[in-house]
């Protein structure tokens, strides 16, 4: 069979002169699951955007089902049966989940929208693929995990013949990832073709038939997954051996840095999102929060960092109350924060990389000198961060918008790690970061903790939580269901029971351990 998609000698130069693809030849067989891997900024998303008509290649040919195509917009690609889930969310915040899913192909009745049908179809497709969403929820108010599921359902709803998934699993829980893989396999059974981008090599091994590795805009090679190993793929991508395990010296628990006492939060719709949550974080430890998305972790972090008011309770950092204080006050108390949604909170896309790096420190020395900001210092900080964190860019003066997704994340990590915090709250810190950089970020996280920083780690990636944390708490429906003082000694299954609320430690039990 001829390839369903064939890219021939694709070059792509962005207006700012960055060449993202250099003579890429890439072909996808009909009915296969084709993984695409590569470091951050290797040009994966760019290549996919070319297939989807969002970017036009500077040179080269796009052949779909044997025909050379010139897509001028996504519309053309959609019409050719291509669907895509984007790395960054493409949702309309004020619309409901169902409205987002049917956008552009709304069911109608005598010319008017059929809202009920949209909801029904959303429920149906969500059940069909096991991707849980609330059809009537406003997108602005749902967490990243559900947003991601909405994105996937959007593409599935359209019944695309060729489905491009650009890092769909970055914020999914392992269970959800499994469900997604199930869905993908179903699609393939129905004769569809899937291109799948991820940084988690385990997923590549698990789901794909073939894998293509990109490096610095060029194809390193395409091979059947059966002939690859995680180590070999990592080597192909990075050009060196990558440690896929974190080495971690034993924890030296220090003084109590943060105390959270009886925190409750009731949201605007009257739902009790956090219920009587109490725990402590100590210097020199990584406290992991394990829980299925939507069980209050997002709100907990936002309340702890001053982005959201709480209903009642108390929170102290080094004995100083920080609850319902402004983000500035919380930060001044020594808290730094890697937010879960980098584009909403974490970055100002149109501002330069350097300016994104100083949002928590521009007002104090050495960045402020006299009445003004010392931009020499800022540039130095930028240069150092770019080097140390491997942010792929020619210049710190460029806008963040010109970075690849993973490199955007690195900017946030660089800022929050270098703020010298007493408490580092990290939500999804390695989201979208390539294997090499993930290794680095994890190392740094451990190093911070070893140097005496308290770390709160919230991640959808249970593996990450388990391998990095010293202590783990599980959350279910806004309550803490269990505390595990020795992360190394619990199993994934055990945690799962607590995360799903099947098991529950008693108050006294927990109090002791907290």
């Amino acid at each position: 069979m001829p390839p369903i998609i064939e890219l021939k000698a694709i070059y792509k130069i962005y207006p700012n002169g960055v060449m993202a693809n250099k003579g890429v030849n890439f072909s996808v067989e009909p009915g296969e699951i084709h993984a695409l891997v590569g470091e951050n900024g290797a040009g994966k998303s760019t290549l996919m955007k070319i297939i989807y008509g969002m970017e036009q290649p500077t040179q080269g040919q796009v052949v779909v089902e044997g025909l050379e195509r010139h897509f001028h917009s996504s519309r053309d690609a959609i019409d050719a049966g291509i669907g895509m889930v984007h790395q960054n969310f493409m949702l309309v915040p004020s619309f409901t989940v169902a409205e987002n899913i049917v956008l552009g192909q709304e069911p109608t009745q005598r010319g008017l929208l059929n809202k009920q049908k949209a909801i029904d179809e959303t429920i149906q497709i969500s059940e069909q693929y096991g991707l849980r969403v609330e059809p009537k929820a406003i997108v602005d108010s749902i967490n990243v995990g559900m947003r991601q599921r909405v994105e996937i359902l959007k593409a599935l709803y359209r019944g695309a013949n060729i489905l491009i998934l650009d890092e769909p699993t970055a914020v999914l829980t392992p269970q959800e990832t499994q469900e997604l893989f199930l869905a993908i396999r179903k699609l393939v059974e129905q004769g569809k073709t899937v291109i799948f981008i991820t940084h988690k090599l385990r997923e590549v091994m698990e789901v794909s038939d073939r894998v293509t590795v990109l490096r610095q805009g060029e194809v390193v090679g395409t091979l059947p997954t059966s002939e690859a190993t995680r180590e070999s793929l990592a080597r192909m991508m990075v050009g060196r051996d990558v440690l896929l395990r974190v080495e971690k010296p034993p924890a030296q628990r220090g003084r109590k840095v943060m105390e959270v006492q009886r925190l409750t939060y009731i949201n605007d719709t009257g739902r009790s999102v956090l219920n009587d949550v109490s725990f402590n974080i100590y210097a020199g430890e990584i406290l992991g929060i394990a829980g299925v998305e939507g069980n209050g972790q997002t709100e907990l972090v936002e309340i702890m960092t001053g982005l959201r008011p709480s209903t009642s309770g108390n929170a102290l950092v080094n004995g100083k109350a920080v609850l319902n204080k402004t983000p500035r006050e919380v930060r001044m108390a020594g808290v730094s924060h890697i937010p879960e949604d980098r584009l909403t909170n974490g970055l100002a896309l149109e501002a330069s990389i350097n300016e994104n790096l100083i949002v928590d420190r521009y007002f104090r020395p050495p960045y402020k000198k006299g009445a003004s900001i010392d931009y020499k210092q800022v540039a130095e900080l930028g240069a150092k961060s770019i080097e140390k964190y491997g942010i792929l860019t020619p210049d710190g003066e460029l806008p963040v918008a010109s970075l690849s997704g993973g490199n955007m994340q690195k900017v946030i990590v660089a800022r929050e790690f270098t703020s010298d915090p007493e408490l580092l709250i990290a939500a999804q810190p390695t989201r979208g970061i390539d294997v090499g950089a993930t290794e680095f970020v994890r190392e740094q996280l451990v190093k911070q903790r070893t140097d005496g920083t308290a770390v709160l780690l919230v991640s959808a990636d249970l593996g990450e939580v388990m391998s990095l944390s010293d202590r783990i708490i599980t959350m279910f429906e806004g309550e803490i269901t269990g505390v595990f003082p020795d992360a190394a000694s619990v199993t994934e299954e055990e945690l799962g029971l607590y995360m799903l609320g099947i098991k529950h430690q008693s108050k006294e039990e927990m109090e002791e351990l907290l």
Binding site: T326, V330, P339, A348, L349, V359, K368, S372
Partner: protein
């Protein structure tokens, strides 16, 4: 080589503007041809009018000063991704307060003028803070509030002018001329070795020291915007409000301050109208210029350093158009039409599709070249 040069954004921008100006002026001339018996003379008046006589040049520069201040005022707000139409009200109150001081506060010029200017800025600051406060704390839309506040300020201005400032039995709604101590001095000092220039300017084109003040304000606003923590806050607010908040910026305070500072600059522009241009308070003092700050700021892309140049260029267009109407048979309305066409075309990012096509072709070639050269600009 030439192609390489063409790729440079600054060069491209320059070429675009040059092309746009050429096209729009050509179109303007074609219209003039249709409506004038002496199109060449009329168009010459338009193109060279503002520099053909010292008093005309003076008018142009004086207006450009006001436009610069207004442009800066608007650019501040726009940079924060806020929208303000409030310059009119702020200017009116600035003119009113500074005018009152100029007229009635018995201080020597050296004290009275700074006091009046300061008061104008203060009242602009406070009047600007109002929509800022409404926006920040009550989430009240700033387009509505600024438009309404303008209308209120206009009537307050008229009320004070007519009932409290206008001298008894005056023939129209205006104050007395300001005393010498309340008028901004000529920009050339009255010293012996500059006597001739002073004489010429103070008589024929009384450009005042507001020229220097405006330049200082340009530098200050630039400094404020790009060098100070407040400017950083303002720009981050504009880039992503949620990010600003997350990063610890007090977004409410920033919103209020942005509006207030913008108001202060507009208030100063108002003082210029009274103390620099009319030398008295009159009705409709802001009528022709109130919203032109928006045009200037957008022309300058909210860049404070570009604002005076945009103000000079736009002021030239306005002055030239006026002179064409005064000294040719082209009617006022046609002059407006020509002006509108020039604004539309000069600000078009893509000058004309045909031209754009050319540019695209050229760009493609350049890209191909870059690829052939092994893409050395790849990182």
């Amino acid at each position: 080589m030439i192609r390489k040069l063409y790729m440079k954004p600054a060069v491209r921008e320059f070429l675009r503007i040059l092309l746009a100006i050429t096209i729009s002026l050509t179109l303007g001339f074609i219209i003039t041809l249709l409506v004038s018996e002496d199109p060449v003379g009329a168009y010459k008046a338009f193109l060279t009018g503002p520099v053909s006589r010292i008093n005309r040049t003076g008018e142009w520069i004086k207006e450009a000063i006001t436009l610069t201040l207004l442009g800066l005022s608007v650019a501040l707000v726009f940079k924060a991704e806020l929208f303000s139409m409030g310059a009119e009200g702020q200017m009116l109150l600035g003119a009113l307060v500074s005018g009152t001081i100029s007229l009635f506060v018995p201080l020597p010029a050296i004290l009275r003028i700074p006091l009046a200017l300061f008061a104008a800025m203060l009242v602009g600051f406070l009047f600007g803070a109002l929509p800022g406060y409404l926006k920040a704390h009550l989430n009240a839309n700033e387009i509505v509030s600024t438009l309404m506040l303008n209308a209120i300020a206009l009537r307050v201005y008229d009320y004070f002018l007519i009932f409290h400032i206008k001298p008894e039995g005056a023939g129209y709604n205006a104050s007395d001329f300001f005393p010498k101590e309340g008028v901004l001095p000529t920009f050339i000092p009255n010293v012996p070795f500059l006597a001739e220039a002073y004489e010429l300017f103070s008589r024929r084109a009384n450009i005042t020291i507001m020229l220097y003040i405006a330049i200082a304000v340009v530098v200050l606003v630039w400094y404020l915007m790009y060098r100070t923590p407040f400017g950083y806050e303002l720009r981050m607010l504009g880039a992503n409000m949620k990010f600003a908040r997350y990063g610890g910026i007090n977004t409410k305070k920033t919103v209020i301050l942005t509006f207030a500072i913008s108001g202060a600059v507009a208030g100063l522009a108002g003082a210029h109208l009274g103390m620099g241009i009319h030398e008295k308070l009159i009705a409709n003092i802001t009528i022709g210029i109130a919203f032109e700050g928006i045009v200037v700021a957008l022309l300058a892309r909210n860049n404070p350093v570009a604002v005076p140049f945009a103000a000079l260029a736009y002021g030239y267009l306005r002055a030239g158009a006026d002179i064409m109407e005064r000294s040719s048979d082209v009617s006022r309305e046609m002059v407006l039409v020509i002006q509108a066409i020039i604004i539309l075309l000069v600000t078009a990012e893509r000058v004309l599709p045909i031209v754009q096509q050319r540019v695209n072709n050229m760009r493609e070639n350049t890209k191909a070249e870059a690829i052939e050269e092994g893409g050395q600009n790849v990182i």
